[in-house]
């Protein structure tokens, strides 16, 4: 990164601020729904005895809100802020930037209304009905045009590594979304996929796994490559490692989808291919983790005082942890135990709460003073938020590991006579109660931390403490 522009370019900060505020708002909404459905598993009357708030309808609302609304808006905040600076040029089209912003928020509102009403495609992470899917495609293409046109008019010759990762998202999400949502409409709210049975399942998990790969991983790595070195005021550890792990990740990720369908009717060679590539995925994933963590080489002392770096270090560490756990869970023998259990839920949340959440929080704290020219209202609160979030994640994933192992082992337990030890499924259900309550507490703690952040950021933005770093942000 060379940031020595003699003249301050006229960057579009307004769109960055909009995505920033949207990120914070949707984080609260999505997490609140998450805590609600966590309570429903511990205490079923929390389903509230009406069609609109049952677990079956709210769980898709939670996942869509966290992935597309929270993580999506966080990624767009990162992209609009960093790519203008990395390319030293304003976004190509203000119209498209705003079209992207308002279009995306409208899609989220449509999701928040349609999912509780029971309008769904019935495919995990692709529940949204076909008219919304078309809207997503249109908005996404508008974003992509703006993205590539901005690259085309850049004032910097080389594309920095963060841009590579953003680019892989823009491209890959396009074809994943289009192919997985190919469907024949029956009515305005209902459609049936062109693929059937196991083929539909394979396409769905090719999409589902890579939505994780290219919405929750690669753009967040781009975020890491821009914001982590800036917050640490150190260059990234290794340029060469960034090349290897970028291409490794982009190539290998796509193959890993079938690990969601181990022991299904899918042909064995596809299952095995999915498993083998999942294990190989460990290498580029840890390449990214090491490149992030080693950026702090010689500057680890900053961790003591800087809450932003605390979020980044723990975020990247959780990335490393969950990208170790994932390959392990895709080994057939392990998957036989972990699949269908809470272990999977714990795994997903060590990635989303640990990696995506912490990286986004770090970025939000770092950006507020720079976007609004105000000093962070209270650094101590940010540190408190960090500890609340970290403790929340630990409670969450430890309880889900324990719960997952409990049910996995009880389901398969067979007595000396060769019969099931727990033949009634309900024998297992209430063994999970303490784990569900612990998970609820962990989620509530994580949400409370996010509320504290929101208060802190709101007071920062509306406050009067001028920031010395306001001048820095112009660069």
């Amino acid at each position: 990164m060379t940031e020595t522009a003699p003249v301050t370019p006229n960057y579009d900060e307004a769109v960055v601020k909009k995505f920033y505020v949207a990120t914070v708002l949707w984080a609260l909404v999505g997490m609140l729904v998450g805590v609600t459905i966590a309570l429903q598993l511990a205490w079923w009357p929390a389903n509230m005895d009406n069609p609109y708030t049952t677990f079956g309808r709210l769980r898709p609302l939670h996942t869509n809100a966290m992935v597309f609304a929270f993580a999506g808006n966080a990624v767009f905040t990162a992209i609009y802020y960093s790519m203008q600076r990395l390319l030293k040029v304003r976004m190509w089209s203000d119209f498209l930037s705003n079209f992207h912003f308002w279009g995306w928020q409208l899609i989220i509102v449509a999701a928040a209304v349609s999912l509780p009403l029971g309008f769904t495609q019935g495919k995990e992470y692709a529940e949204l009905i076909w008219p919304i899917d078309i809207a997503i495609a249109v908005v996404w293409v508008g974003f992509a045009v703006n993205f590539f046109a901005t690259i085309a008019i850049r004032k910097v010759a080389h594309l920095y590594v963060a841009i590579w990762f953003y680019m892989s998202m823009v491209i890959t999400i396009t074809f994943l979304h289009v192919v997985n949502n190919l469907a024949i409409p029956a009515t305005f709210t209902r459609s049936y996929p062109v693929f059937a049975g196991m083929t539909d399942g394979l396409v769905q998990w090719w999409y589902g796994h890579n939505a994780v790969g290219f919405l929750l991983t690669t753009p967040f790595l781009g975020l890491m490559y821009y914001f982590f070195p800036r917050a640490a005021e150190r260059p990234i550890y290794s340029y060469r490692l960034s090349i290897i792990h970028f291409w490794g990740l982009v190539f290998l990720y796509i193959w890993a989808g079938p690990h969601h369908l181990l022991y299904s009717g899918l042909p064995d060679w596809i299952q095995t291919t999915g498993m083998v590539f999942s294990i190989m995925l460990l290498a580029p994933s840890w390449g990214g983790m090491l490149n992030g963590l080693l950026t702090l080489r010689g500057a680890w002392d900053k961790l003591r005082t800087d809450p932003v770096l605390k979020f980044y270090v723990v975020g990247v560490s959780f990335y490393g942890m969950s990208t170790f756990e994932g390959p392990m869970m895709s080994i057939r023998a392990v998957n036989g135990l972990s699949h269908f259990t809470n272990w999977v839920v714990g795994h997903v949340h060590s990635g989303t709460l640990g990696w995506n959440g912490m990286m986004a929080f770090g970025m939000l704290y770092w950006l507020a003073p720079r976007l609004w020219g105000r000093k962070l209202h209270n650094e101590g609160w940010a540190t408190t938020h960090f500890w609340m979030a970290t403790m929340g994640i630990v409670l969450y994933i430890v309880s889900m590991w324990a719960g997952g192992l409990t049910e996995g082992l009880m389901w398969r337990a067979v007595d000396d006579g060769g019969l099931l030890s727990y033949p009634n499924f309900l024998d297992v259900v209430h063994q999970l109660d303490p784990f569900y309550w612990t998970r609820f507490a962990g989620g509530l703690l994580y949400l409370s931390g996010a509320v504290l952040m929101t208060v802190n950021l709101s007071l920062t933005i509306t406050g009067s403490k001028r920031s010395a770093s306001a001048a820095v942000s112009a660069k």
Binding site: Q121, H158, L159, F340, L420
Partner: protein, 233 residues
């Protein structure tokens, strides 16, 4: 801009944005193409002649299954483990899902797997279970779905579903589509009369009737196909 003509390798590529984007597209596209395309062409699931498309009432029931998000808590995939075949029945074959649009294998078992639930309980059990899950399954954490007992299935709506399913590739004949209202009524009346024997008053167009029809169909064709295949050996 400086002269970059001397640059080699990746540094050179980083200056060629279009080429970079094309390469990234190809590299990210390979895996999916290699895994998915053969499944559609040369390596697809073997057809099972016993497995036939869902009836209109079952389609209506499946729509309800999707709407209520049943797949969020129930899988439809019995794995080839002794513990699973003991609990649920024969493990699930690929060909059994031939007419499942979308597939409903699920990813989480908060409740039990449902792929072999067809025929496991009487119709009345399902009727009571959806009304109050704890009446049939003490300790269940499932919410009640009593609105299914009041809401009605709209034949025109299901006709649209069957028509779209045919466009997608499910082999329904013209007569099947034209006969949706009659087929709905006929199968519904059968279930209603079985419920009556158990002392339950229901109407053939209640949503719960459609859901029962779908649940009672689950895994039944597959069971027959597996039995016949074993007999042939």
């Amino acid at each position: 801009m400086a002269d970059h003509t001397q640059e080699k390798g990746h540094r050179w590529l980083e200056g060629k944005a279009a080429l970079f984007a094309i390469l990234a597209t190809v590299v990210a596209g390979i895996g999916g193409a290699v895994e998915i395309i053969p499944l559609m062409t040369i390596s697809g699931p073997e057809a099972m002649e016993e497995v036939t498309p869902y009836t209109p009432l079952e389609v209506a029931g499946r729509d309800i299954y999707l709407r209520e998000g049943c797949y969020v808590c129930h899988s439809q995939m019995v794995r080839p483990f002794r513990s699973e075949t003991l609990r649920y029945g024969p493990w699930s074959r690929a060909g059994e899902y031939a007419y499942d649009r979308p597939f409903q294998l699920g990813s989480r078992r908060i409740g039990p797997d449902l792929h072999r639930v067809g025929g496991k309980y009487p119709d009345a059990w399902h009727y009571e279970h959806m009304q109050d899950p704890r009446a049939t399954s003490p300790g269940s954490v499932m919410p009640p779905y009593h609105w299914l007992h009041k809401r009605k299935v709209d034949p025109a709506d299901i006709q649209a579903s069957v028509r779209a399913l045919r466009t997608a590739g499910t082999p329904y004949a013209d007569a099947d589509i034209a006969g949706v209202p009659e087929a709905l009524a006929e199968q519904g009346v059968g279930i209603v009369s079985r419920l009556k024997d158990a002392g339950i008053d229901a109407k053939p167009d209640d949503e719960i009737i459609a859901l029962i029809a779908y649940l009672q169909r689950l895994g039944v064709d597959g069971r027959a196909a597996i039995k016949n295949a074993e007999a042939r050996q």
